[in-house]
């Protein structure tokens, strides 16, 4: 069980089963509806973190612009909810308010629920594929890639603000009444949303795990550590990077799409540069290259943010800045590295004081206890 934060082969599955029981059976009963929807929100952010863990931790792609894909997924979903509220052939309220009073052509596909679900995956995947391919085949990497991905998120937020008649501008899209026909104010449906979010997150973690233990996962680490050697061996690093970039984009988009009915609003402030970098902090704290580190880390940070920022908004910014600084500078592999170091010390026993064979399990996931 100590291996849970590292990439052991079987232990994560045991822990995942445990997490599943906790999420599906315990949380809905133990938590008030408000707390439950809060936790659902954290789970959506954790989905983005899973993708970042793969791209950044495993692949070495520091993507500072996941807000873009998060936003794409969220806006596609929000457009559908708006259109569904407006009824067949209806016009969303804000459009009549701000001007044209006409539904633009690129909103139309979102009238169909099926099309919406397809587009939530397809739009970010296509964009990530095109960009990833363009960037990686030209061997733009490292800092250059980080800056480009960040600029992309900035440009997207500016675009959303600029197109007020069709995107709601700074206000974003909000005031949804129903989610695929289910009343959003009903606590039963909110609980359903939580279950969906928990299920999707677990599926993502399983996908991430399968990837990590696969040949592709090893190739990914190889590209991160010695890209040129991988190229000399006849593989195409650009293809590997593009695939993982697409995957991270889709995970972020799904997280964004699920967040919209849970929170009830999406606006440009949720997709710009600041939230994009904010996604990284949980991943860094939990351990970027591990399977569960990003998930637990991001849930912990979200939880800390809500509880601290409510009372002391200025303290939270100091805290966040200090976290970035401290974790990255002094604990680059996150809290998971502490666990690993202890295990290494315990198993090698050459530190003069061999650890007892049945050392009490280190509290590997103190931050996972969000309830």
């Amino acid at each position: 069980m100590i291996r849970i934060l590292t990439t052991g082969r079987t232990a994560p599955l045991v822990l995942l089963a445990f997490a599943a029981i906790l999420l599906f059976a315990v949380a809905p009963i133990a938590l008030s509806p408000f707390r439950l929807s809060l936790l659902a929100r954290f789970l959506c952010v954790a989905m983005v973190a899973v993708g970042i863990g793969l791209a950044w931790g495993r692949g070495g792609l520091l993507t500072l612009g996941q807000g873009l894909y998060f936003g794409l997924g969220a806006y596609v979903m929000a457009m559908h909810l708006k259109l569904a509220d407006a009824g067949p052939a209806g016009v969303p309220d804000f459009m009549t308010l701000y001007g044209t009073g006409q539904v633009p052509w690129w909103w139309e596909p979102m009238r169909s629920p099926v099309m919406t679900l397809v587009l939530i995956v397809l739009v970010p995947a296509t964009l990530a594929a095109a960009l990833g391919w363009a960037i990686f085949t030209r061997r733009v990497r490292g800092a250059y890639f980080a800056i480009l991905s960040q600029a992309l998120a900035a440009a997207f937020a500016i675009l959303l603000i600029g197109q007020q008649q069709t995107t709601g501008g700074t206000n974003g899209l909000n005031g949804f009444r129903a989610f695929f026909g289910y009343d959003l104010t009903d606590p039963v449906n909110q609980r359903m949303l939580f279950i969906i979010a928990a299920g999707v997150l677990l599926v993502m973690v399983v996908i991430a795990r399968q990837l990590m233990v696969s040949r592709f996962g090893e190739l990914l680490v190889a590209v991160r550590d010695a890209e040129d050697r991988v190229r000399f061996l006849g593989y195409d690093p650009a293809a590997v990077k593009t695939v993982v970039y697409i995957l991270a984009a889709v995970m972020a988009a799904v997280g964004g799409a699920l967040l919209v009915p849970i929170v009830g609003i999406i606006s440009p402030t949720d997709v710009g540069v600041v939230p994009s970098i904010g996604f990284l902090i949980g991943v860094a704290i939990g351990g970027r290259a591990t399977l569960l580190g990003p998930v637990l880390g991001s849930i912990a940070v979200s939880w800390a943010e809500t509880s601290v920022a409510e009372q002391f908004p200025s303290a939270w910014t100091y805290f966040q800045g200090a976290l970035f600084l401290g974790v990255i500078a002094f604990l680059p592999d996150g809290l998971a590295s502490i666990v690993r170091r202890r295990r290494a010390a315990a198993s090698s026993g050459d530190d003069g004081a061999p650890a007892p064979a049945t050392e009490p399990e280190p509290d590997a996931r103190p931050e996972g206890r969000t309830s």
């Binding site: 990497r141 600029a151 440009a155 600029g162 100091y318 800045g321 976290l323």
Partner: protein
């Protein structure tokens, strides 16, 4: 022609602002491969320096001239502290310095918010910069011309330092080949520190300059940092000339796109052009030839 000239001036003016923001960044990025996300906050510190100087000096006419060197010092000292405490320790992890300095940026923003308050403050424009100069029926605001002049002077001063002083030779040597420079007896530690001081000081000057264009707030740095980085990426690492050309090009592009579309569409178009440009020259306009792969 009547339509072209104002756009040209708007583009050059925007380019000069971009250049000021990016110049110091290009220097530190080129020198150490370090991405300083707090560079924008050093600009913010420069802008607040202008505000404080004005409050202390009283006369808007004089305070701007005092604020420029003081802003340079404030930015430079902040850079020195950052280099000595953090960046020096994480030299072989450039991507991590990016995140660490982002943490520093958050801290500095909050400090500014707590000290000066969240609402923006204004620096009044000296009387000798109010109004516009009329050239051929074209009214050019004096503030914009002044910023253009500051940018030109900064570039020239930096070029002189880099070309003709022994410090400049050391800096260039370290940029081109750190190990060989070290082996030749150059202290790369001392050079790094000095470079960081100058680069951050330039951010302070940029901050003082932009107070002429608008009000100063805790988020001032955030609004410049992404654009400044794009300039550095397009210009190519370690080349002042590349940075100058890139800043002018991006400024002009933005102005002309804005003229034919809207500001937000223009931003996106500029970005598309940058991606396309990197397809042709992935390392930017000017490249320092090295023997490393890629």
């Amino acid at each position: 022609m009547d339509l072209l000239l104002p756009q040209l001036f708007a583009g050059l003016s925007l380019g000069s602002v971009l250049l000021l923001a990016a110049l110091g960044l290009a220097l530190t990025f080129g020198q150490m491969g370090v991405i300083n996300m707090a560079h924008g906050e050093f600009m913010m510190a420069g802008a607040y320096t202008a505000f404080v100087t004005q409050a202390l000096v009283g006369s808007a006419d004089v305070s701007l001239l005092v604020a420029l060197p003081v802003g340079f010092l404030v930015g430079g000292v902040l850079g020195l502290i950052l280099e000595a405490t953090l960046i020096r320790r994480m030299y072989h992890r450039p991507l991590d310095t990016l995140l660490v300095t982002w943490g520093v940026a958050l801290l500095l923003q909050q400090v500014a918010r707590d000290v000066f308050g969240a609402p923006n403050v204004d620096v009044s424009i000296p009387t000798w910069l109010t109004g516009a100069v009329s050239i051929g029926g074209l009214a050019l605001p004096k503030t914009r011309l002044f910023i253009l002049a500051v940018a030109i002077v900064s570039v020239l001063a930096l070029a002189v330092v880099l070309r003709s002083t022994s410090l400049g030779r050391r800096i260039r040597a370290v940029v081109q080949n750190r190990d060989l420079a070290e082996a030749s007896g150059i202290s790369s530690r001392a050079t790094d520190r000095t470079t960081f001081f100058i680069g951050s000081g330039l951010a302070g000057i940029a901050g003082v300059a932009v107070t002429l264009l608008g009000s100063t707030g805790p988020n001032l740095g955030m609004s410049y940092i992404v654009d400044a980085f794009l300039v550095v990426v397009v210009g190519g690492i370690g080349h002042i000339k590349g940075t100058v050309i890139a800043a002018a090009a991006l400024g002009l592009m933005q102005a002309f796109f804005e003229f034919s579309t809207t500001a937000s569409i223009a931003k996106v178009l500029v970005f598309v052009v940058i991606i396309a440009f990197l397809q042709v020259r992935p390392q930017g306009l000017l490249v320092t030839r090295t023997r490393s792969l890629a």
